[in-house]
């Protein structure tokens, strides 16, 4: 009886997911962290040209949001999308290969960091246009509804994106047509250098859900269980045909917006405060506290992730570049009319 009570009071994720699932979630969070660190390191070593947007600190939001999805479900992602890819079961080697501009990459080297996608796993892709994925997610949800696939779409977007007209138009249409889509706002306090206080005329972005008569909830985005609880409810609602929801995950990016960021718009103190709220540490503690993993097993997961990333980078580095003569391939579908 006492045991059962404890069980009932356990956080949502512990009550809901099997130890295997929870362990896998932590594994993915480690993979994201190590991926980003590997990306950063590769950048420093000159293996990557262009820019990149790291999601270190936001791992619970990416992994937690995707917990109840299957490969049939879709996501649309953002410029800060590596975490979403991993959460949606991407192959790390192909991700790095894309980052390195290789023919073996997800986009055969044409897209780079901002366009990694894996349609086979339901990942419709990152997007270089802030807010660009919002209507696309609604379109995917429209397909699911019309074709009766039962699939749900999660649309990731940032706090900055919520001021784009596309946000408004997308949430409105999703609500009017009662589509199976969950809008997950990753509010990391800044769109590049501009804080929500300076850009957004509402305290919590979830409050804007009311303008579309949809549920809106703000949760601690660094708390894996809180994220899953909110997003799972929204996914269930979508799957039941009750329409869209907005979930706001409050989180923080530890790194600058991109490599050119001098971090002049925020304080060192703010950054370190948030680093103390490391979502991976919190998740590890949670799983240890609930005896799902031992500390040694946690360390093992981390080590394993480090190795996976190392292998992925090696695969990518050893992969061939695209051939110059193929530069204009895949603009159109081959063999199509004209």
């Amino acid at each position: 009886m006492a045991d059962t009570l404890v069980e009932t009071n356990a956080p949502y994720a512990i009550r809901t997911y099997s130890p295997e699932q929870l362990k896998d979630a932590l594994r993915k969070m480690f993979l994201i962290r190590k991926f980003e660190e590997g990306a950063e390191d590769s950048y420093m070593r000159g293996l990557i040209h262009g820019t990149m947007h790291l999601s270190i600190g936001q791992e619970a939001s990416a992994v937690g949001s995707c917990m109840s999805l299957t490969d049939a479900d879709k996501i649309t992602s953002t410029h800060r999308g590596h975490g979403h890819c991993v959460a949606k079961n991407a192959d790390l080697g192909k991700m790095f290969a894309e980052f390195f501009g290789k023919e073996t990459g997800y986009c055969k080297g044409r897209g780079g960091s901002m366009h990694i996608a894996d349609p086979s796993k339901g990942n419709l892709g990152a997007n270089g246009i802030v807010g660009g994925g919002l209507p696309i997610a609604v379109g995917a949800a429209l397909s699911a509804k019309r074709l009766g696939t039962g699939a749900v779409t999660i649309c990731f977007f940032g706090d900055g994106a919520n001021n784009e007209g596309a946000f408004h138009e997308s949430l409105n249409m999703a609500a009017v047509w009662k589509l199976p889509v969950v809008f997950v706002c990753e509010n990391n306090k800044y769109g590049m250098s501009t804080s929500t206080a300076r850009s957004t005329a509402v305290k919590n972005i979830a409050e804007r859900a009311a303008a579309y008569s949809m549920p809106g909830v703000t949760v601690d985005g660094n708390d894996f269980s809180a994220v899953t609880e909110a997003v799972d409810a929204a996914v269930a609602r979508a799957r039941a045909g009750e329409g869209p929801s907005l979930v706001e995950n409050l989180t923080y990016r530890w790194r600058g917006h991109s490599k050119s960021d001098r971090n002049r718009y925020r304080t060192k103190e703010e950054i370190s405060e948030w680093m103390e709220r490391d979502p991976i540490v919190a998740m590890s503690n949670l799983l240890v506290a609930h005896k799902i993993l031992s500390e040694a097993e946690v360390a093992g997961l981390e080590e394993q992730a480090t190795q996976v990333i190392k292998d992925a980078i090696e695969f990518a580095a050893a992969s061939p570049d695209p051939r110059i003569e193929d530069a204009t391939r895949d603009v159109y579908t081959e063999g199509a009319a004209a």
């Binding site: 419709l124 660009g132 696309i136 409105n172 009319a337």
Partner: protein
């Protein structure tokens, strides 16, 4: 045209021909959906969708809110995931609101993703001047989209092509943009029954001729044909080419004609500078057909101003038959 006499041929208006194509598509392919503003019970601003909503219901013929960017993006997302949307902009001018989704998403996503997806999306753009709707409802912006790799851009000028090109567009796995001239909607012409396609990327020689080539688009094809008739009476034998596709442009048909005639006039309604005729001209000037040119390449395009409201001004700022006649007569001087 086949051997049937004119009276035996079934005539439809351009708008009816488009509607028939959509009807065929809706009936034969569950994945086809129509999207747009007021295309349902209203029947579309130009009555192109007409009563299709009654036949197929509001799930297949969807009125969107007035949200061009979002609406276009929904169509892109739907096309990426199994549907085949036909998206109508109420006026092509409003596509300015949706350039992001058309250009940065629909046109590029296949390439950016290394060929792992395609976007079987058709967009329809009622275009052009002549309705007295002034500067924000009368533009010809096909040149913008013609500049964008990943898109195909069509300008059917006849009811037959309007139907056949729309059906071809639906067969095409890539995004196809169709510019329909509003003034043509009521034009009647022969339209074959049933399913057929008109090839994308092939120009049509509407009138063979030997003295000069007139390459025209959309509404201007009809003005060029009228001019050619007058010219014929004067002994000038003009070849009229209906470009039909802006992207990919039919290089071979145009060049072959210029090699034959040595003289070229491009007639298009969009603003002259950087309009479709600029590309036609440049395409010829860089080709081996250049050596066959006996005279400068003439362009008749829209004036360098927005479309004015007053009907006489409105006419004055786009090429008219007398402009074509003047240009052709001047060109032909050395020739005949």
């Amino acid at each position: 045209m086949n051997a049937m006499t004119k009276t035996e041929l079934r005539e439809l208006s351009y708008a009816e021909a488009i509607r028939e194509a959509m009807d065929i598509a809706l009936a034969s392919d569950e994945r086809v959906v129509l999207m747009g503003e007021d295309i349902g019970v209203y029947g579309g601003a130009f009555q192109v969708t007409g009563d299709l909503v009654e036949k197929y219901g509001t799930d297949r013929v969807m009125d969107t809110p007035i949200s061009e960017l979002g609406g276009a993006g929904v169509a892109v997302g739907a096309a990426l995931t199994g549907l085949k949307p036909i998206f109508e902009f109420q006026f092509s001018d409003f596509a300015a609101l949706a350039m992001e989704q058309i250009v940065n998403q629909a046109a590029k996503v296949r390439y950016m993703l290394g060929g792992s997806v395609s976007v079987p999306l058709v967009m329809r753009f009622p275009a052009g001047s002549g309705t007295g709707a002034a500067a924000q409802h009368s533009q010809s912006i096909e040149a913008w989209l013609g500049h964008v790799p990943g898109l195909k851009v069509l300008q059917p000028s006849t009811p037959e092509d309007a139907k056949g090109m729309l059906l071809a567009a639906l067969e095409d796995p890539d995004p196809v943009m169709i510019f329909e001239h509003k003034i043509l909607y009521k034009m009647k012409g022969h339209v074959p029954e049933g399913y057929y396609t008109t090839p994308i990327g092939k120009a049509a020689i509407r009138r063979p001729g030997k003295d000069l080539t007139i390459v025209a688009t959309s509404m201007m094809v009809h003005k060029a044909m009228a001019a050619a008739e007058t010219l014929a009476a004067e002994g000038i034998d003009a070849e009229v080419i209906d470009l039909r596709t802006v992207r990919p442009m039919d290089r071979e048909t145009v060049l072959a004609s210029v090699r034959k005639t040595g003289r070229l006039v491009c007639v298009y309604e969009g603003v002259k500078t950087l309009g479709v005729g600029a590309e036609v001209s440049a395409m010829v000037a860089e080709s081996d057909a250049f050596d066959f040119l006996d005279a400068p390449i003439v362009r008749l395009g829209g004036a360098e101003c927005p479309i004015p409201y007053n009907p006489e001004l409105e006419k004055a700022v786009v090429p008219q038959v007398p402009d074509i006649l003047d240009a052709a007569r001047n060109l032909a001087k050395g020739r005949i």
